[in-house]
Symmetry: C2
Subunit: 337 residues, 2 copies
DNA sequence: ATAGTCTTCGGAAACGTTTGAGCTGCGAAA
DNA sequence: TTTCGCAGCTCAAACGTTTCCGAAGACTAT
């Protein structure tokens, strides 16, 4: 697997190797005749440019780091899909890393990305504290956070409007006739959850409802977590007619627990999620939920990052996308008896 | 974001830059005193080695290409998760690409990987013909195919034993009392599906059952495809008591169609899948299915690839893993009335 | 014919690292 | 005292590109 270099074809074509380089890059100062001959030789000799050598001199690898907590999570893998698409359209490739939701891992991966000289990194932070852990490294690598609202932090991010999404969610349930709505899931910790629960509270106050929380103390938001908490919830009679889950994964856990307890959804209880992960659209599940515009999130993330790379001095941008509600089958109208 | 190089520290430490390099790499011919001073300086000056320069001279990027058809597919994202874990444990990073199930895309991505000088590529092929499209490129890059059985092709692959898995599946249904079992899904095209349907047929013959196929002519295996085909299936009275879906995604489509037709699963019809994607374990779905050992698949893929990279001359390896059956709730025992 | 301009190409430096070969000084063996 | 070996370091080449600068030749204008 030895390399055929630009010098080899230069020798074969009887020109200098700078001429070959220029031929390949489409420089105008090369005659059609020699260019043709060079390109011909390249094909014959199976030449492929060595990108790492090019990166060396160009000081750009055309690589973007993508650090996620867990690529097997459906939300992240879908995001990764779109990010790769957009990046590739812009001439970049993705180097993927899983931080496993560990701040140390995350930091060490970030350093690795610096060492690898990727042009920038897209970070789905492990926790809201990620910014603090990484702060000292950030000046050395253009970075964009996605999914977390870093409010008054001087770094770029793109996220959905979690506050508004939650607000929309309770409005929706209100219109269906629900007056007792439980908020289920994490409340503290990440700004994401903080904003969602704030939006919930604000909507409740606006509509004259009494807010009630059921807090998940677990740090991870797997289905299992939601399931365990939901078991607790269902161990005593339910006051509410609807529950608003902080994430779709939580909602899935509720679904499971409800199934086991014989609680029918939506007949006995309406269930609303947040994120619209792919699982939610599956048959038999049909979770109605407030959707994060994942494709848009992805393309804005890479566009913002590429902008930042292009003009280094430019400050930071905060982009906040508006969510939308997708109706499926887990919420139903309720008569106000 | 300008770079602190090895020369900067050399100047600061008052030594030559080769001394710095040797200090960093733990070479024995450097005195403890100078090594200490150098390392100290590195920390102070925020030095991080430039990996691309190193790759240049070492002729190794410590990068592995991972080409999948669609990272948002739960099977592949789970595999990618394990692959990344194993690769990182071995000192490698992953550059991820989506071929979008297109042979041209796949080929162009493969060329890109060879231009990027990744040390090897792990390929989840777009089609069984992928080998033909890539054949001319293969000698130029260590590659391992995963998921497809390339039988008599001189390239390495690792896959599950699809034949045996299908065989096990019908045996399982037989033991539950089922005598009329429909095979549902793709049959031609990929060797994967060919082997599965062969395993089904063999088991049927062995057990004295009459095989019946319902073939999916669509090239992609999305839920929607399974759904459409299942609608067709349910438009006339069912002769079978069980259906064996070629993939879990197909099974999910059947589930959806059944739901709409009012066909209860497993009461009216037992359903068995293949792959054990994460979705199958979801509440309300609980698809029983034959499982591909994804974690093992992943670690064998990277181990095999790394072996191949280490000794280039070594031939190829074919590894075929045995599947297992995971019981959930979509199959039930049937009385032989 | 001379000067000037353009076109087309070659030479060489630079990117940041690793590493083989060579150099220096010091202690020990002869 | 001379020679040798060795520890500890420096020099310089090499990896495969891109690109600035300059040179040679052809062509045009005077």
């Amino acid at each position: 697997m030895k390399q055929v270099t630009i010098k080899d074809i230069a020798r074969a074509a009887g020109v200098s190797y700078s001429t070959v380089s220029r031929s390949l890059s489409g420089s105008p100062e090369i005659s059609e005749k020699t260019r043709k001959r060079v390109l011909e030789l390249c094909r014959e000799m199976n030449y492929t440019a060595n990108t790492v050598a090019r990166s060396m001199v160009m000081k750009s690898t055309k690589l973007l780091g993508l650090i996620v907590t867990d690529i097997s999570n459906p939300f992240m893998s879908e995001l990764a899909y779109y990010i790769d698409g957009q990046a590739r359209a812009r001439g970049y490739n993705i180097v993927l890393c899983n931080s496993l939701r560990s701040l140390e891992q995350e930091r060490s991966l970030f350093e690795l990305m610096i060492s690898r000289k990727v042009d920038g990194v897209i970070l789905l932070p492990a926790e809201s504290e990620s910014y603090n852990t990484l702060e000292s490294l950030l000046p050395r690598m253009p970075t964009i956070f996605v999914g977390e609202n870093l409010r008054d932090v001087p770094e770029s991010f793109v996220t959905v409007d979690n506050y508004r999404g939650a607000y929309m969610g309770v409005e929706y349930l209100y219109r269906l006739g629900h007056r007792r709505i439980l908020y289920f899931g994490k409340r503290k910790g990440s700004t994401t959850h903080q904003l969602r629960s704030e939006g919930y509270r604000a909507a409740c106050e606006e509509l004259g409802l009494e807010p009630r929380y059921m807090n998940n103390t677990f740090s991870s938001t797997s289905i299992r977590n939601g399931y365990q908490l939901a078991q607790q919830l269902f161990s005593q009679p339910l006051r509410e007619t609807a529950v608003f889950a902080a994430t779709d994964t939580n909602a899935l856990g509720i679904l499971q627990a409800a199934e086991e307890k014989g609680i029918r959804i939506p007949e006995d209880l309406s269930l609303l999620g947040f994120d619209n992960i792919r699982d939610s659209g599956l048959p038999r599940i049909g979770l109605t939920t407030v959707e994060q515009p994942k494709k848009l999130l992805a393309s804005m993330a890479v566009d913002s990052l590429l902008d930042k790379i292009a003009n280094d001095q430019a400050g930071y941008t905060h982009r906040i996308l508006t969510p939308s509600l997708v109706e499926r089958t887990t919420c139903r109208a309720v008569s106000r008896a």
